[in-house]
């Protein structure tokens, strides 16, 4: 069973995403901030297979968190989620990084889950 880490500061969004992924059979971990995410990583029994990371977080941003996770744990299976895709700065950064991303509101059934399956399969293969 794949383990997915969700990092978002909006409780409703966090819960909805968790419900979706759980209904799909994934094991889900949740964090509401950069600090929580890093703390979870430090104590996790294994690294997640993927992390859905919101870009705007109260104590930092998703890009910084992704960089930390890669630097500290060699983890680079990050999928960014953002409600700020309209913002030039965020859009440029996303394009430059070349990482997958989703724009809120998410279309779970048609976009997120199919992509996530392919994403996880890529890792396994």
């Amino acid at each position: 069973m794949s383990l997915i880490l969700i990092v978002d500061d909006e409780p409703a969004v966090l819960r909805t995403m968790g419900d979706w992924l759980a209904s799909e059979g994934y094991e889900v971990a949740m964090a509401a901030s950069v600090a929580e995410a890093r703390s979870w990583f430090a104590s996790a029994y294994k690294p997640p297979d993927a992390a859905l990371v919101d870009i705007k977080l109260p104590d930092g941003n998703g890009f910084g968190l992704a960089d930390n996770l890669y630097a500290d744990h060699g983890f680079d299976r990050v999928i960014f989620v953002t409600a700020f895709f309209w913002e030039e700065e965020t859009r440029r950064e996303l394009v430059q990084r070349g990482k997958p991303y989703f724009e809120k509101p998410l279309k779970f059934h048609k976009q997120v889950l199919p992509f996530l399956r392919r994403f996880l399969n890529t890792k396994e293969s």
Partner: protein, 439 residues
């Protein structure tokens, strides 16, 4: 923040205006001083040159007259007296018949005049003036045909008192209607007794009109004899200057120096001194005719450099206008810049608020749509679970969206204002970070 920007911009504006005004003012005063000094110097040089010329003319007048009278004394007894005197007078007669010499005569030791005396009523050909011409001249100078003083005892007395004296110029003498002075040469017997004296009587008025006035220029002049009698003053200022000079008591000493200078072959003395006439500082320059007369020229300091002062006033007015226009332009620019900045701030505030609203609604939609999608695809079918999801997640998201729309409506109605950090005043229900890094 806005106040700070406002203050900074206006301080900048004032700074620039001052930076423009200060060099302009310094240049104005520096150049003004420089130009005034230069013009003062030029004016003083001009005045000195005029005074020197007038001093020379006085000198020439004195010695021409003395030479003629002395020459006449040598010729007395050898020529017919009336003819001798007429020939002498003719050399002073101008073509228009107006001589500055009133008359020529021979004075006896008792002070009486001989019958050979002649008044200046001949033309330059030695002929009597025409009746009309004479009548016209007598309108101005009624004494023309009989210019003689009641007594010439003072001439005889001068030569009798000083046996070594051969030539003499009298002080100024008040005659009816005018001031005169007499140039005289003595004829003495072999043992030094006074036989007679030839005199040329000058009118100060004619002397001034015919010799001095043409070279006067704009000078305020006065002429004083050795007793301090005023021969003329060309203006009120000149009269004040002469009175102030006389009050100093320097006249006698200066004319003694003038006589001494003449003894050394010079025309007389020259000098200058500051004067304070009324409340205004003035400058007096003077020249002496040997030890006989003193000619003064006075100038107000304010009149010196008056042309420069007028020019400076124009320059000052032009500079002030230029500065004023620059200041107005600067003020307009500052106001425009502040308004532009205010518009930019408003735009930025609006952009931030739009971002805030977008973020808020997108998150609400993410929760609501995600849950509805769960239900619609059949991942959630338990009515209790659906009810719980609707109550705990979808409903709050929709309420939040409704509140957002209402907030926008309140904003459009002007009931609330946007704060500069992109929040909706203190009434906002959503916290937004100014640096856009927060969520």
């Amino acid at each position: 923040m806005a106040d700070k920007v406002w203050t900074k911009r206006w301080i900048f504006f004032l700074g620039v205006t001052l930076m423009l005004a200060l060099p302009l003012a310094m240049a104005y005063f520096y150049l003004g001083d420089l130009m005034s000094q230069s013009e003062r110097k030029r004016h003083q040089q001009q005045a000195n040159a005029q005074l020197n010329l007038m001093q020379e003319q006085l000198y020439d007048t004195k010695w021409d007259a003395l030479a003629d009278t002395y020459d006449d004394t040598l010729h007395l007894g050898r020529y017919e007296e009336a003819r001798l005197l007429r020939d002498t007078l003719m050399s002073y007669a101008y073509p228009d018949g107006r001589s500055f010499v009133e008359g020529i005569a021979i004075v006896n030791p008792d002070g009486s005049l001989r019958p050979s005396r002649l008044a200046a009523v001949i033309d330059d050909q030695g002929r009597p003036l025409g009746r009309k011409r004479l009548a016209a001249l007598k309108m101005d100078s009624p004494w023309l045909e009989a210019p003689w003083l009641p007594s010439y005892d003072f001439v005889a007395r001068a030569f009798l008192d000083n046996r070594d004296l051969d030539n003499w110029i009298s002080p100024f003498i008040q005659a009816p209607g005018r001031l005169v002075f007499v140039v005289a040469s003595a004829r003495r017997t072999a043992d030094g007794h006074l036989a007679c004296a030839v005199i040329l009587q000058h009118s100060i008025k004619s002397l001034w009109r015919n010799l001095q006035a043409p070279v006067r220029g704009e000078l305020d002049l006065w002429l004083m004899d050795r007793r301090g009698t005023m021969g003329l003053s060309t203006s009120k200022l000149a009269a004040e200057s002469a009175a102030a000079f006389k009050a100093l008591g320097l006249l006698e000493r200066l004319l003694q120096s003038g006589a001494k200078a003449a003894g050394q072959g010079r025309l007389g003395i020259s000098g200058e001194m500051p004067q304070r006439l009324g409340e205004e500082p003035s400058h007096l320059a003077y020249r002496s005719l040997a030890g006989d007369m003193l000619l003064g020229a006075v100038t107000r300091q304010s009149a010196l450099g008056a042309q420069t002062a007028a020019m400076l006033r124009y320059l000052g007015v032009i500079s002030l206008w230029a500065l004023l226009i620059l200041a107005v332009a600067g003020a307009i620019f500052t106001v425009a810049s502040l308004r532009e900045q205010a518009r930019m701030v408003e735009k930025d505030t609006l952009r931030r608020y739009a971002g805030t609203v977008s973020h808020r609604v997108r998150n609400d939609l993410a929760a609501a749509l995600g849950n509805l999608e769960l239900i619609s695809v059949g991942r959630l079918s338990d009515p209790a679970a659906i009810k719980e999801i609707l109550a705990s997640s979808v409903n709050p998201a929709l309420c939040d969206i409704q509140a957002t729309v209402e907030e926008l409506e309140r904003l459009s109605r002007g009931e609330v204002d946007l704060a500069k950090d992109g929040q909706l005043g203190t009434d906002t229900m959503y916290e937004c970070k100014c640096d856009s890094k927060g969520g």
